[in-house]
Symmetry: C2
Subunit: 151 residues, 2 copies
């Protein structure tokens, strides 16, 4: 009983905090992307295409939470800009998979390094213990979010 | 020396984790907004307009990290939909401030309650101590992010 009370009283504060942190991450991300030839949604898609290897458009559309048609348009643009290519699945030629090209991988590598630099600066005053605890709690949080979003 | 090493080795993991959590929050937020007559950028703007009271377009544009012209369009649409209105500053009639209308406040209240419900579900398995520690660490993180983004 006490457990539930304590938690629920923190939820509104945590919701707001996470909403604002997401906003700040988005802003810093947008600032970094200004120097690269991709938009925010393209960055998010490309990052999943590299992380997960051989995604279909349907799988990618689930990952980024956009409609199938919007995801198709996004991949069209990435392909046109030489960042990814479509490849027929070797086992089932009707299935098309998206694979990253060198240029796409190079851009993501650079952008993520810049994002890590930013986070490194943000966390400069964190002790190693604080960083570790934050990492553990966020891991737990993300696991639950994934479970809920996917069901 | 040890402190810096421990931290920096966690930064790539934390950057990825926070990127994915932001994505999951965005997805769940988008899903909630499907039942309301506002888009994601409109929700973000409206939420700041309510939280901060009497913002100018310039101030709002800084908060949401979008260009002045994009922010003006956004406010136009919110005004057209009866969610906010523009008001001349009493002390300086040349300054226009954005104030929320009842309908706008009611929508944000409902959407934020739904977001809190979602987070409550995500954090069901967190102990009160874990929730508190997470809140403290995120508070620290956000403070730093704000400092860096605003400078």
């Amino acid at each position: 009983m006490l457990k539930q009370q304590t938690q629920s009283s923190l939820i509104p504060e945590l919701e707001k905090r996470m909403r604002h942190i997401s906003g700040a991450i988005k802003q810093s991300g947008r600032r970094i992307l200004k120097n690269y030839p991709i938009t925010s949604p393209q960055f998010i898609a490309l990052q999943w295409i590299i992380d997960e290897k051989n995604l279909t458009i349907g799988e990618l559309s689930n990952k980024i939470g956009l409609a199938f048609s919007t995801t198709t348009d996004l991949v069209d643009r990435l392909e046109k800009n030489g960042l990814v290519k479509r490849l027929k699945d070797e086992n089932d030629r009707r299935v098309v998979r998206i694979v990253p090209l060198e240029k796409g991988e190079a851009i993501i590598k650079e952008v993520i390094e810049k994002r890590q630099e930013y986070l490194g600066e943000v966390m400069e005053s964190f002790s190693p213990e604080q960083a570790e605890v934050l990492d553990e709690l966020l891991q737990l949080l993300y696991k639950k979010m994934k479970d809920i979003n996917e069901r």
